[in-house]
Each structure stands twice: as C-alpha cells, then as structure tokens.
C-alpha cells in the first residue's frame, strides 16, 4: 500500500469516526450493509474505468451502458424468459463487444477517447429509452430468480454478496494491473505511448484490451445494479455513474494523463465517495447538496495531495542541503 493510499484510508476512517460520533446510526449493521452493497456496485464499475484511465483514455459511456445493459438483462430474463446464466453471458459478451468497438475506434481510427465515449453516452441512453419505449423495465409480480438474487442482491453472514464480488474482482485485477506483463504495458503506454511503441509493444491491442475490460466490468455492474433496483427507467437509471467512476479513480490517485494510480487507490476512492453520500443522508444535509459535497471533497483531496507532493519535494531538498552543510562542517 503506498503512502497515498494510506492517507486516503486514514481520511476514510476519520470521516467515518466523525459521522459515527454525530450520528451513531452510521454504525448500524443495516447502514453498513447498505453502504457496502453500494461500494460493491460502484467499485466494480470504477475498476473498469481505472483500466481505461491508466492508458490515458476515458470512458464516458458507462452510465448509459449501465442503463442499456441493465434494461436488456431484465428484458431477457423477465420478458423473453431466457435462462439467467445465458442472459448473464450474453450481457457480458455485449459489454465486451462494445468495449472492443470503442477501443477499435480509438486505436485504429485514431478518434479521441472523449469523443468516442461521449457519443456512446448519448447513443446507449437513447437506444435504452427507445427499447422500452420510454417505459420502465421490471419484473412481473411474483417472478423470482432465487440463485441470481442470492448472488447479486443477497447476503452472506450479513455482508452483501456484491461486496464479496468486488473483493474477488479487486484481487484478480490487482494481480493483472500490478503484477502481470499486461499491467506493465498499460502503465508504459499511459506514461508514454510513443516510447512504448518504439519498445516493440503492440500498443493498439493493449489499449483495446483495456476498453474491453472496462466494457466487461461495466456489464457486470449493470447486472448488479439491475438486480439491486429491480426496475429500470432508462431515462435516469445510471445517470452520472461515469462521473462517480472517474471521481473514484481521481480520488484514488489516478492521473487523467495516464500512467499513474493503483487498484487499492480506486477502491478506497469508491469507499470515500459512498461514505460521503451516506454522510449527506445521515447528517441531515439537504440531499440537493449531494453533488456539491462530493465535488468539494474531491477538489480538496486533489489539492491536498498536490500540495503534499510539493511540500515533500521541498523537505527532501532541505534535508539534503543540511547533510552537505554538516559534511562540510565535519571537514
């Protein structure tokens, strides 16, 4: 765990302690379970985003994808009555294909990630609304999928299974990002894509793979979100989720220029964001201020982080110059 991550963890604990003192309901099992469920859902989404951001890209369409893929998933199992494992595989595959198309447009046709995924944001939202004729996708009364519901919205030992899912995914993705050859390539491309190319890395394929990973994790979280809300109105479902994901990554120390950030960081970023949401509710802050609180905290966080870096660099200089002075005096 880097110092940055440690700082973030301490911040999370301090904020948690303050909220718990002001409103002890923060520590009620029901509240903690709810919050950890949301952490699970948004965490999966944010890890996907992180893989794209590390390459210096951005994926703005994930919110709309959560709506579209969620709508399709519910439609597949509730209306078209597909077996849920089949529907699950189809949705994941669709997420992968969409990621592949984004990656292809970005690496082969050299379009800017912002532009490609902004168009995605508009297109998928529109398609989702058209698909349901602007209606709501949901389950009919009495429809039950016990296994699926247990895996997505259920709990084990009082802990939401979505949270367990996040932990498993986080461990796997940590190995991929921080230990694998692919992860090293991602960092290299994020730092300097040209130099990576001149080192013989097939940068196009690697970047495309990052968008595919993002697509798959988005699809997975779309299923989780769908099973959590159980009914989806595509006009608003998942709105701004791409910004939550980007915010979690930025809070977790990712640079939008690419090449920087850790998996632990993005998880902690998600935790902090959800803690703040919870704080707004528990402290009786008007919920209309929700976004303002988040924005303010992210801004302060990024500012402190940057100033801390400047401070440390300065202290290193002073320490080093003291050493030379002491050395000269000793002579």
């Amino acid at each position: 765990m880097s110092k940055k991550d440690l700082g973030l963890l301490i911040l999370i604990l301090v904020v948690g302690a303050i909220v718990a003192i002001i409103n002890p309901r923060f520590l009620l099992p029901i509240n903690l379970a709810n919050t950890s469920n949301l952490i699970g859902l948004f965490g999966i989404l944010s890890i996907g985003q992180a893989f794209v951001i590390i390459t210096g890209g951005i994926e703005l369409s994930v919110g709309s994808l959560v709506a579209l893929l969620g709508t399709l998933f519910i439609d597949f199992i509730a209306v078209r009555e597909l077996d849920w494992p089949l529907a699950f595989v189809l949705i994941i595959a669709l997420g992968a294909i969409i990621g592949l198309v984004h990656g292809w447009l970005i690496t082969r046709l050299k379009l800017q990630p912002f532009v490609v995924t902004l168009c995605g944001l508009l297109i998928y939202r529109g398609v989702a609304r058209f698909y349901t004729a602007d209606g709501t996708a949901g389950f009919a009364f009495g429809q039950n999928f016990p296994e699926l519901e247990f895996l997505t919205a259920g709990r084990s030992w009082g802990v939401p299974n979505s949270f367990f899912a996040l932990i498993v995914i986080a461990i796997v993705m940590w190995v991929v990002l921080h230990r694998s050859v692919f992860g090293r390539y991602l960092y290299a491309i994020g730092k300097n894509e040209e130099a990576a190319k001149y080192s013989g890395i097939r940068t196009g394929r690697i970047v495309m793979a990052a968008y595919v990973i993002c697509g798959v994790l988005t699809a997975l979280s779309a299923i989780y979100f769908a099973m959590y809300t159980r009914s989806i109105s595509p006009a608003s479902h998942g709105q701004f989720y791409e910004l939550y994901a980007i915010a979690a990554a930025v809070l977790g120390g990712f640079s939008l220029r690419g090449g920087e950030g850790s998996l632990v960081g993005v998880i902690l970023g998600t935790v902090l964001l959800q803690e703040l949401q919870n704080l707004v509710n528990l402290l009786g802050i008007p919920s209309s201020l929700n976004f303002a609180v988040m924005g303010g905290v992210i801004l302060i966080g990024v500012l402190v982080d940057q100033q801390w870096g400047v401070f440390r660099a300065r202290r290193r200089m002073i320490d080093a110059s003291r050493k030379t002075v002491a050395g000269a005096a000793a002579e």
């Binding site: 090293r184 290299a188 730092k191 300097n192 013989g200 110059s321």
Partner: protein, 521 residues
Amino acid sequence: MARRLLSGMMNYSDTSISAIAPFLSLENVRKTYPGVVALDGFSMEVRPGEVIGLVGENGAGKSTLMKILGGVTTPDTGTITVDGTAHKGLSVEGSLGSGIAFVHQELNLFENLDVAANIFFGREPLRAGPFKLVDRARLRTMVAPLLKRVGANFSADTQVADLSLAQQQMVEIAKALSIKARLVILDEPTSSLPIAETDKLLDVIKGLKADGISVIFISHRLHEVERVADRVVVLRDGMLAGTLGKRDINHDQMVKLMIGRMLKEREKASEAARAPGAVALAAKAVRTPAYPGRPVDLDVRRGEILGLAGLVGSGRTELARVFFGIDGCLGGTLELDGTPLALASAADAVAHGIFLVPEDRKLTGILLDLSIAQNISLPNLPAHAKRSLVSAGAETATAEKQKKNLGIKAPSVQTRTGTLSGGNQQKVVLGKWLAMNPKVMILDEPTRGIDIGAKAEIYGLMRALADAGVAVLMISSDMEEVIGVSDRIAVMHEGQISGILDKEQFSQENVLLLAVGKQPK
C-alpha cells in the same frame, strides 16, 4: 550612441578589446545544490562584440551558469557585474532588462503562429481604443529590420511550423534582438541542425558580433566553436578549467581542458580493411510516406557500420521508421537475410531482431518515469515473466548485466531513468536492445547531446556490435562522427540515396556534395 561608436571602432585586435570595459563579468561565483557543488569559484568576462565559446562535458556546470545569467537562480557567493553595476544575483526581469537574451536548445516558439507574432509575443503594438487590437501593420514594420539583421530568407507572416529548424532558430535570435539584447546566449544551437544550415547560423553569429553584440556560444561541436569563437572558456567540474585565446583554439586543446587529459586517440574505424559481410537488411525500391515518389535502394551488411548522412529533412529518419515498422512501406520490398520482410508494427521488427535507437531519446527512446530495469526489460517482457506475471528478479538480473556491460552510472537499476544524464539514458536505450539479440541495429543521431567521454563509449559499442556480426546503420548529422565511425557512408538527398562512399572516398567535401545532390569528386 556611444556604444554604437565603440563597436564601430573595435577591430578585434586582442589589445583593443581588452582595453574596453567588459559588458559582463562574473567573479568567484559559487553555487551549490544539495549534495553537489555546481559552480566553484568561477570567474569570466564577456566584452562587447566578443564571441565566447563555452564548452564542457555534461554536468560541468554550464546549465547552472546559464540559470544564474538568466536570473532563474542566484549564486551563493560571488558577484555578477553587468554593464558596470555589481549584483549579488540577477532576477529574470533584471537579466532581460540589462539586455541578456537566451536562445535555448529546445526552441520556445508557437508553431501555430506566424513569425511576427512569435517575435513580439506579449509585447504586440496595440491600436488605440478599448479593445486592445493588435496593430498588424506596425508589428510588421517592427519585425522587418530584425529579420533582415539575422539574414532571414522568409517573410514575417510565415507560419513557424513551415520553417526549417535553422530558420526557427533565426526567429529566436530575432526575438532576442527585439529586446535590444547586448549579450545573446546560444545554448547548443547547432545540435539539431544539418551542416548547410549550421553555416547560416554561424554567419548570423558573425553578424551579431559586427553589431557589437556579445555572444556566448555553447556547443558540443568543437569544430564550430573553433570557427566562430574569439575566446573559449572551458568548464570542468564547476570550475574554470582554462581559457583559450583566439590563436590557441583548437580541437585537441579544448578536449584536453574539458576532460583533463588527452583522448588516447580520435575514434577511428579499425584500419584493417573489412571483408564485407552478407547483406542483412535490404531495401528494394522502398517508398516512405515522406517521399512517396522517390524509391530508396539500400543494403546494410553484417559486420559493418553504414553511416547514413544527409541534410535534416532528407528522409533519413523516415527511412529508419520504415525499417523499424513504425511507418508502412508505400511500395517496394524489404528483405532480411534475403527473405522478404513484411513489417506491420515495431513489434514485428523487434521480433525479427531489427532494433532502433531513436533520435528523440526522451520522447521515444525511454520511459523517463520507469526504472532502468523496467526500461531494459520492456521490449522483452514475456521473457522476464512466469505465467505472464513479471518476475522482478529476472528483470533486475538482466538490467544488472547491461549496467555492468555498458557502464551505466546510476545508484542502482531501480533508479528512475529520468534522473540520469543524457549519455546514461542513451546507454539504457542501447541496453534494452543489447539484452536481446540484434541482427540489425539502427541508431538515429546516437550521440546527440552526449558528452565526449560517453560518445567514445557509444562508438566503441557500435564497433563491438559490428564485430559481432550485427548490421549497424548509423544516422548522423555530425560530420566528424560519420567520417570517423562508418565503414561506408550512404548519403541521402531529398528522399533518395544520392551516393555511397567507400572508405577511400571519405571526405567532408564528398559527403556535402552528395547531401546537396551533386556528384562527389
């Protein structure tokens, strides 16, 4: 007025110059950084209308000196006297105000603006009225005389992006003149210029001198210093290693002062005539994106160093990019060891053992934020991994071997490459390819911005590669280097090979003639 008169009177006999009060003098300047003494009791003088050549190896203290003169940093002790006024240190405004102007190695121009806008950027003449509109007519009349003084052959409304490097440098100098500079400091101005353009720049320096403006000319290209400098100041380890008067300026003296000893011998290709090896890489009527209408034929043989000379823009780098699979071939074929070769990417070239040490080290050669070990393992990462998980141990082992082999000076192989000197960075680039098995090694300006000691080492490495049977292709704009290191020289002119010189035909004149498209003698 008086100054003008003075400069007119000066005829540069040594006695008359030394009688005139110096424009700038540094006395006993000392500057320390944490752990390093960058300048140690350094003194020098610059008189009006004098061209000072400032030479020294990388790390000798030149950049610190420049920072002090530019007012970016202040010395710990010592005095700086500018135009008769003594200072403890200069500020950026103070430096500019007293007429000290810089032309940096990396040009600071806005490529998307025209020449006039660049020269008076931030100081544009404005029209009367509340909207602060730029008075373009007046701007042009202000720029014209400046361009004339630097001998520009382009107009004030040319986009900077359309200018050659030498022309851009002229714009920088015009910018310096526009602030009524009395001392122009040129930091490695010729390092990226081809031979013909360098001559133009040296003429501009002579013009400045004739106008009574002092020049400090910093360069690693000693023969250019020889040509323009009135005096040479040599820095070594932050101290003044020596000063050479006009008559004593020569290559060997400068080198001796720079490194504190004579180089054993000037780097030369081994005398024994080499039996040419088999052709490793062959280009047959290859067309590059830069010159699609001009097919290139070129053979690089095993065991030779083929020098590729030519003016900047003659298509050498573009050819190297095609050989390395960065750009596609628009026509013709590449052959490796006699079999046709299709390269869709640099990864393909690397898989075939064709490696490139690119021209721009920081942009394409290495990743400055990664460690030495990570840079060296990058092209061959799967070989340093078990079940696609990177093995730090394997990486370190490979890197340690290259560090020892190449003599990379760094605390450890975990050191960030961004903190290394240019020469050591270049060795890391070489190290990552040497750790694999090169068949064809292409080096694009391998010694640009590298000090003399490291240069000699890199020449030695290239020779060792060639001796081991590797085909080495070296692109270089440094005439001494091309002639001193190559076994054969191919010269490019406007996208085509205009001729190939064998050892006995080697001469600066022949290379130049071919570079401008004429026949050698």
